[in-house]
Each structure stands twice: as C-alpha cells, then as structure tokens.
Symmetry: C2
Subunit: 431 residues, 2 copies
C-alpha cells in the first residue's frame, strides 16, 4: 500500500523534493512507500527539471486538498494566501500536512494547530526553520526534558552572507547587497530578509516549540541590518566582536512563560560558537538546564537542504501511517498541543549591553557630558573611547555594562539634544 | 497510570537522571507520568546526592530486570558485564531499555537488537554518543532521507580537552594528561580515552545508524594521541591546521555498504567547522546528499548533559506507551532494524593525505632521497620542507597529496632503512 502525496508548488523546493523522492535508492527504505499522486502548479507549460506524468500535474490546487486519495498534503507554495486556506482545507479533510512555510505558521499557527488537533492530524514543519538542519524535531523531543532558557539563532542566510562579506571584504552594505542580488543570494525585493522579518517568523516558531506556548508574531521586535556600516564592523572587530543578525528568544521569568523574543544585529564575541557561522549557513544555539549549550549548524536554504527537511517530515508520517500508529490521540512529541500564549516582556524592562557610536563636534568636555548623562540614568559604562575624526567630527564609541533598555534609551534621547552631538549613527546590542 | 522505571546504577549519570526526573516542573509534562520504581546500586551505605525511599533501592540488580511491574529498564552501570546480561534479560522479559553504554552497544549491538526486535521492544541509546547532543535520533529519523557519505566526529571530550590545552599552552601530552587527571577530566587509567577506544565504540554506533548496517567493532582501526608532540602541534599550526582526534565513518563504495571506519589524530584545516570545537565539547558532522553538511555541537559528557539524553529516550518511550502506540510492529524510526553487516574496506586500499616528520642526519641530498623514494611508490607530495635542527639532527616535514595508504606505508618502510634517517617521530593524516 502506497502513501499518496499531494504536493502544492513545484518551485525550487518542490522540484528538489520531487527529485529526492523519485531517486530514492540508498535512502531510508520507507520512502519507497511514497507515491507522488498529485502536484499543483501555477502553469502547466513551464519547463521543469523533473518528469511527472501529465495526469499528476494540475493547476487546480483545491482539487488536491479535496482529493480523497491523498494522505499527506505537502505545501510548498509559500506566502500567506492561498497557502493558509489550502492547509486549513487539507486538515479539515483529515489529511496530514507538511509545510516549509514559516510565514503562515508564525502568523496562523494557532488557527492551524487548533484545527489539526481537533481533526487528529499532524502538521509538520521541519523545513520552516534552518533549512536542512534538524532542529524542529529535537526541540519537540529530546531537548524538551530540559528547562530551556534561551534559543539564539542565525536563521537568515541572506543577511549572514551580506554581513560575512562586509566583514571579510570591508565592503559597504549597499555594494554587497547589489552583488548578492546579482548572484541570487538576495531577492530583488530584499525587505523580508534584510529588515529581519524572515528571522522574526522563524524565531517565533522556535520560541513556541522551545517554551511550549504560542507566540503572537506581532509582538516580536525586529530590527534589520540596513544601518550596519563598514565603520561599525571595523570598531566591533577591534573590540573583539563580529556583527551578526541574531534571532533571540529568552525566558524572562523563571515561573511563567514570559519571554523576550526579538531580532536585531548584535555584537557577538569572537569566541562565541555563533561568531564562526559564516556565509549562507545557519546555526541555532539552545541553552537549558541541565543540558548546557547545544548548537545545530548547517545549510539554511537551498533546494537540496530544504528538500531533505521536507522529506524527513514525510518519512516521519509514513512511519506512523504504515505501522498504523497514527490514530488519535496524537503523539505529543510529533504534534503541537500547546494552547496558551506566552507573554512577551516589554522591551524597556529588559537588560542588555549596548555599543553606540556618536559623531560629535570637536569640543572639550564632550566625553564628560556623555558620561554624566549616562550616569544620571543609571547606565553603567564598560568603556568610552574617542577613536578618531571623520569629516572634522570626533567619533566616540561607548560600550555599556548590562543596563535596563528603558534607562539606556532615555539617556540616548537626552544626549541626542546636546549641542555638541552631531549624530548617533549606530546603536547596537552586545551579546 | 504511571510508567515504572527500573534504573540500574546510581553513579554520576544515574544520579543526574534521578535528579532531573524528580525535579520535573518546567520540563515536558509527560515526564510527570514517570515513576522511579526501583534503583539498583552496588552499596546501600554510600552517601547519595538524591533522596529515594529505602524500598526503592536494592543491590539485587537482577530483581529489577525481572520485576513484572517495571516498564522501562534504564541501564547506567556501564562496562560490558553484567550490563550486557541485564539488558538481555530485561528485553527477554518484554521491557523497553534505555542505555548510555557505548561499549556494550558497539560490541553486542547485534545480539541485543536481534532479541529486541524479536520481543517487540525498543532499545534507546541517545546518551551513548555525544553526551547531551541529540544526534542518535536525528540520524534515525530526519537525516536518513539523505544518502549519507561521511560522519566525522570529535566524540571524546578527554582527548579534545588535552589537545586543546596542548594547542593553547604549548604544553606536552604528559604534562596536560597529569593535570587533566588531577582536575577529573581524565581517568586514573586513561587508556580507553587517549588510545581512542571510546571514540571507536562511538563511531561504530554512529556508522551503524548512518549507513543502516551493523559494524564489527573489531574491524574499526584505532590510533590514539599519545604520540602527539608539541612540535607537531606547532608545525601543524604553521601549516594552517589544528590536530584533533577524529572518528570517521565514510562510505567507500557508492553501490553497497562498504565503509572505512576509523579513529586517529588528524590535521584539520583551521577553516573547517570541526577545527573550532575546543575543550570537553563534542561535535558530529554529517555529510550527505542532497543535504550537504550539518553539524551538531554540545557537551559530550557530564551528569547534566548525559541525564538530558537519557531522559529524552525515556520521554520518547513514555509518549508511545501513554498513547498505546508502542505495540509491534516497531516504529522503524525509533528502533534499529538493520540486520546485515557493513563491509569494512582494507586500510591499504584507501586514499588519504599524510603529514610526516623525519629526523635526519645533516647530510646533503636527504631531501632528494626522500622525494625519489616517495615518487617510486607513487606518492605525490604537496610540500617537503627542511624546517630546523633539533639535537644536531635536521627536521624535515612532508605533506602528501591524496595517496593510497598502502603505497605511502611502503615508501615509509623503505625510507626508514635509509642510513641518513634517524627516526620518524610522527606520521599523521590530514583532513
């Protein structure tokens, strides 16, 4: 008895998945049970890198999620609609779902998993975060015996590629972005990547699994890398740091599920495990008790890596279907059963270290004025250094100790009004 | 209804596991179903870091594996016997088994899994390799949709700690080993670690899971780190390498399960992901098609990390037991069903790069003679450099291209007979 797939979408990931499933010798033998029953596409005429019977391909995606013969719907069209609606219909029809769609899961996860639990079907999402890195399943299973307190990830390959090249070549953001677009590492509209939205989708999902509660995606604070300059990368380097776009989910309260969930460029100490993750690679660091630190590293995108993750979800479902062990109650280590929302702590209450660069008029006493203002707001400084001149302006770099974000922001607002301050080109968090 | 555990052994790992299970708030809620029913120890009088009712503790380990109330036997006594016998009896009695015992699994895995499959029970072993790193379960599940071609690990914390300190401090092997023993990072008898046996046990297990066949542990070639000198570490560093004890399993033939499985100190390029794994940390790099490279990194030993892995296996079994989805047929993604042995390729047929250091009399023409002999045996050289003098002897360091190991060994045997050769202090593989 074959397990029948209905695949939605035959782009890069869809094509990679079909190729993997069609060429199954030397892979897990259970994949031989898989039958590609229907594949939904936008256009029948487009030339394809895979061979499929004409009867398999259709432009009527709804007919796939309504097809009574389909056991598993594999959603690989991406975006919010019609992905959300097709997933919900598939679940309604009692089909298990595999998806690589971080946007739809991070925004409509509550709706999707509520329905899936009611219908007794699984919604699998290994490919939604970290490409080919197996991180979703370990978070659901092995790691959940720990009290996890932090998940920190480099989960967007495009921005990591850009920052790595800025670091190694000393190039500017705009120059590297333009080249990355030419080479296909960045989209024509790079917003979702460079402004951190994609990373925010992914950390919402990781946080939800790590902390066992739902996350309101709207509450995830998000800062991208457009404002990162060559100058900051050089200063960071001299201070012993590299700049990475980190997605962070952290438990704030030990007793309830209050979290800080955010995406921002961060100064990472060169000795930190995440500092050496370069190029399009992704890595996710999970910290908990009693485990300590574990890190998962691998290709965060690409047809092959994502196809591997999608196929591993299919394999998990096939293993359950063929042993008949898939009926309700759902296995809590494979499904997503949490129903409550985690509280997101207000940014201003959190503590962090900050690196900030000021451009000031070359007047005596500026450093003293900065120091006094920070002190007044309870912001304790690790270092304050006048580092050089730029266009007749003095450049001052400040690194704080751990301080309340609200206090720091207030000090910065005050300092911004000083006559001697020309501008504050950058203010970044330090890990 | 509780799930009753019979735990064998209350040493470091046993104590850590009991502590985790007793202090279960904030962990996966399924752990609340676990009941520590019996715990087997050597001595009832030893002071313990955990509190257990007197009726729970016993010195009669056999009574635990024969206790009809026990659902899961957790074997944490280590060593070959009586561990093997107790595991087999537990299986015979229809109990699921969780073990952290790499020695017994790597040597008696065939016997144990054959019986487990016949009895329809699971034998779980996440803690046997990589401490707290979730690597066993990903190899069984997610990664198995790939055609895996190589698994490379730093899987022994003691030797990695010693090599890291030799590297950073410029100290000798003997000095660091003595200090590591004082600090508790190395055993009084360090043989199993420094001679690579522990790593060989672990790579046998990883190879078996990655390549879906049994491994004859006796056929795994194994070389330790005793002969690594400060001098080699310095030369390696100048050439752009660090020296790591690697455990490697590699597919040699694309069509059948012929493997190379081995443990040896290796020159690793500083840019390689494994080069930055320092101290007692472990890492396992898995390479396959279409995935590419993924790496798992974390604490390779210690009470907390190992307890996390042991408890994750318990959690997996509890999830199946409480949903009633644990009856035969076994889930092939949780069990170990392969029955055939992989072939281990003869060392001499394999290709590798070598770094070799010669001490020679200070005679003209020695480099020429070395070059000629290597050439005669078909060994192509990347570099051959006379690097300095040591006790009136000249030091020559050779790095080869990829060559047949048999050819290289033959050339070395010939060179060893040259009058000008004082000694060959080291010959190491290059990754």
């Amino acid at each position: 008895m074959g397990i029948k797939l209905g695949i939605l979408g035959l782009g890069t990931v869809g094509t990679g998945t079909v190729q993997l499933l069609q060429d199954n010798v030397g892979r897990h033998s259970l994949l031989q049970l898989v039958e590609i029953h229907r594949v939904g596409v936008k256009s029948l005429d487009k030339p394809r890198d895979v061979t499929l019977a004409k009867s398999v391909i259709t432009t009527d995606l709804e007919s796939i999620v309504n097809d009574p013969e389909v056991d598993i719907v594999v959603e690989l069209i991406g975006g919010l609609e019609p992905a959300r609606e097709l997933i919900l219909k598939a679940i309604q029809n009692g089909k298990h779902v595999v998806t690589a769609n971080k946007a739809v899961i991070s925004r409509f996860g509550a709706e999707i998993f509520t329905l899936a639990n009611r219908q007794g079907v699984y919604v699998m999402l290994e490919a939604a975060v970290g490409g080919g890195i197996p991180v979703i399943q370990p978070l659901k299973q092995s790691l959940s015996v720990n009290r996890i307190h932090t998940v920190t990830g480099i989960v967007n390959g495009t921005t990591n590629y850009i920052l790595t090249r800025m670091q190694t070549e000393g190039s500017s953001f705009d120059a590297v972005l333009a080249d990355a677009q030419k080479l296909g590492y960045a989209e024509a509209d790079p917003t979702a990547d460079v402004d951190g939205w994609d990373a925010a989708d992914k950390i919402s999902i990781l946080a939800s699994l790590a902390f066992g509660g739902r996350i309101n995606r709207e509450e995830v604070s998000c800062e991208g890398i457009r404002q990162i300059s060559k100058t900051d990368i050089t200063y960071a380097n001299n201070l012993g740091f590299v700049i990475k776009l980190l997605a962070i989910a952290k438990k704030v309260s030990p007793t309830d599920c209050t979290l800080s969930v955010r995406v921002h460029p961060t100064l990472v100490p060169k000795t930190h495990p995440l500092a050496n993750i370069n190029g399009v690679y992704n890595a996710i660091l999970v910290e908990g008790e009693p485990l300590g630190q574990v890190m998962f590293f691998g290709p965060g995108a690409g047809a092959g890596a994502t196809a591997s993750a999608v196929s591993s979800d299919i394999l998990n479902l096939v293993a359950r279907l063929q042993t008949g062990q898939i009926s309700a109650p759902l296995d809590p280590l494979l499904g997503c059963s949490h129903q409550d929302y985690c509280q997101i702590a207000p940014q201003s209450e959190l503590t962090a270290r900050f690196y900030t660069r000021f451009l000031t008029l070359d007047q005596p006493g500026v450093i003293g004025k900065l120091g006094t203002s920070f002190g007044k707001h309870g912001v304790s400084l690790e270092s304050i250094v006048q580092t050089g001149f730029q266009d007749k302006l003095a450049e001052i770099v400040v690194v704080t100790h751990d301080v309340k974000e609200g206090d720091f922001k207030q000090a910065l607002e005050e300092i911004r009004t000083f006559e001697a301050i020309d501008s504050i080109p950058s203010s970044l968090r330090v890990l």
